[in-house]
């Protein structure tokens, strides 16, 4: 039994090493980083974090990212809910083809869409707004949300719907008061995935913004190239981007395994 648990421990250690290094770097002074190797910060400093929390371009980067990610999550889950219900309950003309077509959008390389997206959103005057990024990210998040929710909804027996109708529930009332509470876990997992993919995606977010809605990633690349090579600052900014993900994942920890299987086990 003991030998067996060695593999997960080694694996997690491997995962944690680069993260540890990033966090350790963020507490070092630039002098210490450039002067050579040290496993722990010798002169512990919070200077890098102070810079981030006092400079508006830095902290607005985070706020911008969180705003468009939240907008995208709400939008994706809201439009995906009725669609997933339709796919899980009814057969209709072209349903299979439509479902497959939705999934093909998950396969499209983001690099292919970067330039056309820039032109599309510029032409409708949405360039450099939160809405542009939130809408662009629905390209891969909506299909994913439909897929996950459909998996969870299939697990709910159809008798539930029929009983509710017999009891005189209208469809909207049934959907909100009876059906939704039953697929709570699915909604949570779908929201989690939308959050995750919108939060980690950077190519489109960077292409579609300039000043007003600039995500944290763009701020980071600018710092890396313009202000010399401030590794400590870069590390601190990177460390802060891990925190929202860690918080969100803690909320869904009990559904995480099933969630990653998209409700399909």
């Amino acid at each position: 039994m003991k030998k067996r648990s060695l593999i997960p421990i080694l694996y997690i250690a491997f995962l944690m090493l680069p993260i540890y290094w990033l966090v350790a770097m963020s507490f070092k002074t630039t002098n210490e980083i450039l002067s050579g190797f040290s496993l722990f910060p010798q002169t512990f400093t919070l200077e890098n974090y102070v810079t981030i929390f006092t400079d508006p371009t830095w902290y607005w980067g985070y706020i911008n990212s969180i705003i468009y990610v939240t907008m995208n999550t709400v939008l994706s889950v809201c439009v995906a809910l009725p669609a997933a219900y339709a796919f899980s309950r009814y057969r209709f003309l072209g349903d299979k083809q439509l479902f497959f077509w939705l999934l093909t959008n998950r396969m499209a390389p983001a690099a292919v869409f970067a330039l056309p997206f820039f032109q599309l959103y510029s032409s409708i005057h949405l360039f450099d707004t939160y809405l542009a990024v939130a809408l662009a990210h629905t390209l891969f998040n909506v299909p994913l949300a439909v897929w996950i929710l459909e998996g969870f909804m299939r697990g709910i027996p159809k008798e539930l719907d029929e009983t509710a109708y017999v009891d005189g529930y209208s469809f909207p009332r049934f959907f909100v008061t009876i059906f939704l509470p039953n697929i709570k876990a699915g909604v949570g997992v779908a929201a989690f995935f939308c959050f995750m993919f919108s939060w980690v995606e950077m190519l489109l977010a960077k292409t579609l913004t300039a000043v007003e809605a600039k995500p944290i990633a763009a701020v980071m690349t600018r710092t890396a190239s313009s202000a010399g090579y401030e590794l400590g600052l870069l590390a601190a900014a990177g460390t802060l981007t891990i925190i929202p993900g860690a918080i969100v994942i803690w909320f869904v920890r009990n559904y995480i395994a099933r969630g990653f299987a998209m409700g399909r086990v």
């Binding site: 593999i7 680069p18 290094w21 309950r89 009814y90 959008n105 390389p109 990177g238 891990i242 099933r258």
Partner: protein, 287 residues
């Protein structure tokens, strides 16, 4: 089980409108560019399939495609078995399960450019933990800004670090859905660990493994941000994967025609391979 109802289309309409707006309009823009030549000033000339021919014949595209297939192949043969092994050795219940799962999922929630920066800091010679350890402790000459092999190893290890957990979590979900009775029956029959794996665990993991392999194929084939931040495609062109090359042509050189033709070829290859994978892996179910 599902009833026929054409009104269900109304439920799908919002999704359809949103995705069509995001997918069809840009796609048509790409198709448009791919058959035209432009000299600026918004003047376009019909070019036919010339760009497609030029891209398919160019050494540059073929080399990038070759590197891309090698990369994806290496990723799949490392991450899938490793993921299965870790999932099999994980505890099934108890306090440590959620802790393990959260820690394992953490790399996937880090923005992709941060993943690149993180590995850059980690592997710097003299400064980074891995760079220092390999160069100064083990005496291996390792510098990914100079040596193509080092750069390749770093990019692969980074992806293994980033995405193996996806395979682990999917397989784990499949494994916990196996009832205890199966294992008890296997024990009574005196089944070896290998046959338990081959005849109980592997079949139960089949659906989730299909999802895992498909997702890993698509995402590794479309990878852009992490290797771009880490190596920028270098040294030379050694780690210039398809997406990196495409962005170089489209946004760097602004050659819209060739870039658009390349986009379509790229997308078609992704779709085709995904479809072949999917049909092969679900063939047994249909029979």
């Amino acid at each position: 089980m599902r009833t026929e109802n054409q009104k269900a289309w109304f439920f799908v309409l919002p999704v359809l409108a949103l995705v069509a707006f995001n997918a069809l309009v840009p796609m048509m823009t790409v198709v448009n560019y791919s058959v035209q030549e432009t000299f600026g000033n918004n003047q376009f000339f019909w070019e036919g399939l010339g760009w497609f021919e030029q891209i398919l014949r160019s050494d540059r595209f073929q080399a990038a495609l070759g590197r891309q297939f090698l990369f994806t192949f290496l990723i799949l043969i490392i991450e899938v078995p490793l993921g299965i092994i870790v999932a099999l050795s994980m505890p099934r219940k108890g306090f440590w399960v959620p802790v393990c799962l959260v820690l394992m999922a953490l790399p996937m929630l880090i923005p992709w450019n941060v993943v690149g920066s993180m590995w850059n800091i980690f592997t710097l010679p003299k400064i980074g933990l891995m760079g220092y350890f390999l160069n100064d402790v083990l005496g291996i000459n390792y510098d990914m800004t100079q040596q193509p092999l080092s750069a390749w190893i770093t990019v692969i290890v980074m992806d293994v670090w980033h995405w193996t957990s996806l395979v682990v979590l999917l397989c784990y979900a499949g494994l916990v859905s196996i009832p205890d009775a199966y294992y008890q029956a296997a024990k009574i029959d005196g089944a070896s660990p290998w046959s338990v794996f081959r005849y109980i665990q592997l079949p139960k993991m089949k659906t989730v493994l299909t999802i895992a392999i498909l997702l890993r194929f698509m995402d590794s084939f479309n990878i852009y941000t992490e290797p771009f931040v880490l190596t920028g495609g270098g040294p030379g062109n050694s780690t210039t994967l398809l997406s990196i090359d495409l962005v170089k042509i489209a946004l760097g050189q602004f050659d819209l025609g060739p870039a658009a033709a390349m986009s379509l070829i790229y997308f078609a290859i992704t779709l085709l391979v995904s479809w072949v994978f999917y049909t092969l892996m679900t063939k047994d179910d249909a029979q």
